[in-house]
Amino acid sequence: MVMAASETKFHVLAVDDTLIDRKLIEKLLKTSSYQVTAVDSGTKALEFLGLNNNDHQDVEVNLIITDYCMPGMTGYDLLRKIKESSSFKDIPVVIMSSDNIPSRINRCLEGGAEEFFLKPVQLSDVNKLRPHLMKRTQTNVNKRKAMDEIVSPDRTRARYNELEVN
């Protein structure tokens, strides 16, 4: 894996209402050298960003990764709130879901999500995040359509083949 020249750790905000999944995504992100803040709801995510107070970004967040199925505010609702906010719309958002529903995937991508990961999220999925973070630090941003990189709804995940050997 090619590491960026910069030493700065990117800060990822992870949102998931399930404790196990929160623990997992946090570990995956930390293993990939990201700084992580994990919250258990969309509301808490918005509070953390400072969106509820004064629409001013209190903390530097470089990417948001959120579960889709959450009580109250879904991951999609959170995505839309982020994209409709002037201060936060440029933060890349990634959605995770345990259900492989093509219409859901398309809706999220059309709603502005950069990627859609099927759960359980793998280290190989987390590796796909870096380009979305790196391109935002470039001056010439040529926003690639992530269409080639999205999970194809028809793809069945052949788990054993994707195993990374130590």
Partner: protein, 154 residues
């Protein structure tokens, strides 16, 4: 029993859990994520799974015991159990949940009760297996040995 023997026993036992479908590759992912900074990662995640599952199984038992069953509620619980079992690689529990959900959709009370029994059975089986495996690991570490990494070669 010396460390080498214990390690071989652990490897054989763990491999059998994969062969028999109790665990899938997601469990390997958990083991690979464990490192010096978080040496109890697998134990912690597995414990969360046990706590979560037992609560969900109780909720399911109660929900299916109602005079008028709320299948939406039942499905929501099964969805959660499917999610957590999938996250730790408890394959047979996950598969039992998938079947369970299809009967929830049909609102079939007899079938869902049978599914609940099936899920409970699979859960207690994998719980037993995981506890045995973790105990073997503890014994190795206590004897000063290291836990061998499993590579799925088949």
């Amino acid at each position: 029993m010396e460390v080498g023997q214990m390690q071989r026993r652990l490897v054989d036992y763990t491999k059998s859990l994969f062969m028999e479908g109790f665990l899938d590759a997601q469990f390997l992912q958990l083991q690979q994520l464990q490192d010096e900074s978080n040496p109890d990662f697998v134990v912690e995640v597995v414990s969360l799974f046990f706590d979560d599952s037992e609560k969900l199984l109780n909720d399911l038992t109660m929900a299916l015991d109602q005079p008028s069953v709320d299948f939406k509620k039942v499905d929501a619980h099964v969805h959660q159990l499917k999610g957590s079992s999938s996250s730790i690689g408890a394959q047979r529990v996950k598969n039992a949940c998938i079947a369970f959900r299809s009967f929830c959709e049909e609102q079939n009370i007899d079938a869902t009760l049978r599914c609940l029994q099936q899920v409970k059975q699979e859960y207690y089986l994998v719980k037993n297996k995981l506890e045995t495996m973790l105990r073997l690991e503890q014994q190795i570490v206590a004897a000063g040995g290291s836990i061998p990494m499993i590579e799925l070669g088949f």
